[in-house]
């Protein structure tokens, strides 16, 4: 409990946290609004998904927040102070994951609600759908946890950002270059972004089911956190 409280105080008093959370909300709503306002959707288009387009920007800000939450400690040397005060390192990582998840969930709820409201205003014919909205909040939380685990493993903000952004943005680009449609579909089912964002899809024939897709992303996040925890315990701090 003390560990959670300490990590919460740390996150709360970190210079960038507040600004990043505000940026995440603003960026997500703005991009969602632009997507809803400037597109001219055909009848039968996936409107709930369209009005949540901003999540694809929001995830980058969430990733930055989560990478910095641990990477900054290594950059400044504060990690040594942290592990001196709280020598049970896995517990520290769990506490960090909890507070980052809570902060991201709160901001993501606002961002998603804002996006849905704007989408509804700009596209009045759009039926409200709960699953894409709730799923998007969970998606952003999981992206945060995945980023946290990766940053713990690489112990540097720059390397952490590189790996996370490659996973979030470079992998989907690589995917489009795959010529074989069967392979492309297989990849869509195991990549964190494409699988996770399946939760936003309300029509068509997605490569993976919505909750199953989110589950794939959750496996990525859990895997990254576990790998981070193992490295944390084994390496010298």
């Amino acid at each position: 409990m003390n560990t959670v409280r300490a990590e919460w105080t740390k996150l709360r008093t970190s210079l960038g946290t507040c600004a990043l959370l505000v940026a995440m909300v603003a960026g997500t709503v703005a991009v969602s609004a632009a997507a809803a306002g400037f597109s001219d959707p055909l009848p039968g288009a996936d409107l709930p998904r369209l009005s949540l387009t901003g999540v694809q920007l929001g995830q980058a800000v969430v990733a930055i927040l989560a990478v910095l939450a641990v990477g900054d400690e290594y950059a400044s040397g504060l990690a040594v102070v942290t592990f001196t005060a709280m020598p049970r390192r896995s517990r520290v990582l769990a506490a960090k994951a909890l507070v980052v998840a809570a902060a991201v969930a709160a901001a993501a709820a606002v961002a998603v609600a804002g996006s849905v409201a704007v989408g509804r205003f700009l596209l009045p014919e759009h039926a409200l759908a709960a699953r894409p909205a709730i799923g998007s909040v969970l998606y952003l939380v999981l992206i945060g946890l995945l980023s946290l685990g990766i940053a713990t493993g690489v112990r540097s903000p720059a390397a952490g950002m590189g790996v996370v952004l490659a996973l979030l943005y470079a992998l989907p680009i690589v995917n489009t270059a795959v010529a074989d449609p069967a392979w492309q579909r297989r990849l869509l089912r195991i990549e964190p972004v494409s699988a996770g964002l399946a939760v936003q899809i309300t029509g068509g024939a997605p490569a993976i089911g919505p909750w199953k897709g989110l589950g794939v992303l959750a496996l990525w996040a859990v895997g990254a956190l576990l790998a981070g925890a193992v490295l944390l315990e084994r390496r010298d701090a």
Partner: protein
């Protein structure tokens, strides 16, 4: 109390610790000295559970550090004063640390006051000088009111006033019954504050002794006497001293304390103009002990001589006899 027993640690091909063994007793300041690379910081990191030793054990109050529930209530430590988030205020830095030990903001304000940072408590630590960061680091070390303190090079970056403050603080902490371990690569900084000294070199303990013992070991009891009287040497030899005549009226006496020499000369009516006991400093003891353990020695002895840095002294240093 800290017990370090047979610690060994290698980093690749380098042996950092090679059987480091000592204890830090309560109620005294233990100086931990040695040249750079002697293993002082690594030892402290192992004690704090940050680095794992390949062999041996380090115990704090009889327990491995990582088994302690609220470690800062057992040991306060300062390893690297620069290790703060630049964007966080001094008070918030201490606040999260306090929360991690189940302590509240009142304790934070107390330690801020102890180290004299109350007026800048709400300023970001990124703007602090190294001396202020050292004080912040000390505040963090004192947070849990621990019975043991471990400070790595606490004098680094401090101005003269800060050094005086730090010396007084370490003395007071030891006088209050705490076990205080202070590392330094400069023995002179530990003179007058350390009661006990652990001298490290190449990952081992070279000497582990009280300051009094250490000084007695290096001071050979030489007394220099300057006297124009030719019979001075005979009088002193007759009194039981062994006398070496060093020329121009200077005698070096061993085997007699300075007081006895003064009494002997006066009794025999021998005039003398100078009587000086050779007093060893901790620095002498340290240099003697670490002579073979210095890892990075200047290749040219003249380059290591401070006089060689003086342009006036440069010419003699370059004479063929000294050049390599």
């Amino acid at each position: 109390m800290i017990t370090v027993n047979g610690l060994r640690k290698r980093f690749g091909a380098t042996t950092a610790l090679d059987g480091m063994t000592f204890t830090v007793q309560p109620g005294q300041v233990t100086g931990f000295v040695g040249p750079n690379g002697a293993g002082k910081s690594t030892t402290m990191r192992v004690v704090l559970g940050l680095d794992a030793a390949d062999a041996g054990e380090a115990l704090v109050d009889g327990h491995p550090y990582r088994a302690l529930c609220h470690p800062l209530r057992h040991v306060g430590s300062l390893l690297d004063a620069a290790a703060v988030s630049p964007g966080r205020t001094a008070r918030n830095h201490l606040l999260w640390l306090a929360h991690s030990q189940g302590l509240g903001p009142r304790r934070v304000d107390e330690v801020l006051d102890t180290v004299g940072l109350t007026s800048v408590a709400r300023r970001r630590a990124g703007g602090f000088s190294l001396g202020m960061r050292q004080r912040l680091g000390i505040a963090a070390a004192l947070l849990g009111d621990p019975p043991t303190l471990m400070l790595d090079e606490p004098f680094n970056g401090m101005d003269p006033e800060g050094i005086i403050w730090m010396r007084r603080l370490t003395r007071e902490l030891a006088a209050g019954g705490r076990a205080v371990l202070v590392s330094s690569h400069l023995m002179s900084q530990l003179q007058d504050i350390a009661d006990h000294v652990v001298v490290a070199g190449r990952g081992r303990v070279l000497a582990d002794a009280s300051v009094t013992q250490l000084l007695a070991a290096v001071s050979d009891g030489r007394v220099t006497v300057r006297s124009a009287a030719a019979r001075a040497a005979a009088v002193l030899a007759g009194g039981g001293g062994s006398v070496t005549v060093a020329g121009d009226g200077t005698l070096v006496v061993t085997g007699l304390p300075a007081e006895a020499i003064a009494a002997l000369l006066s009794r025999n009516g021998v005039p003398f103009s100078e009587l000086a006991a050779h007093r060893a400093t901790l620095e002498d003891a340290y240099l003697e002990l670490t002579r073979d353990a210095v890892e990075y020695r200047a290749a040219d002895p003249a380059a290591a001589d401070p006089a060689a840095a003086d342009p006036a002294a440069a010419a003699p240093a370059a004479t063929p006899g000294k050049a390599l």
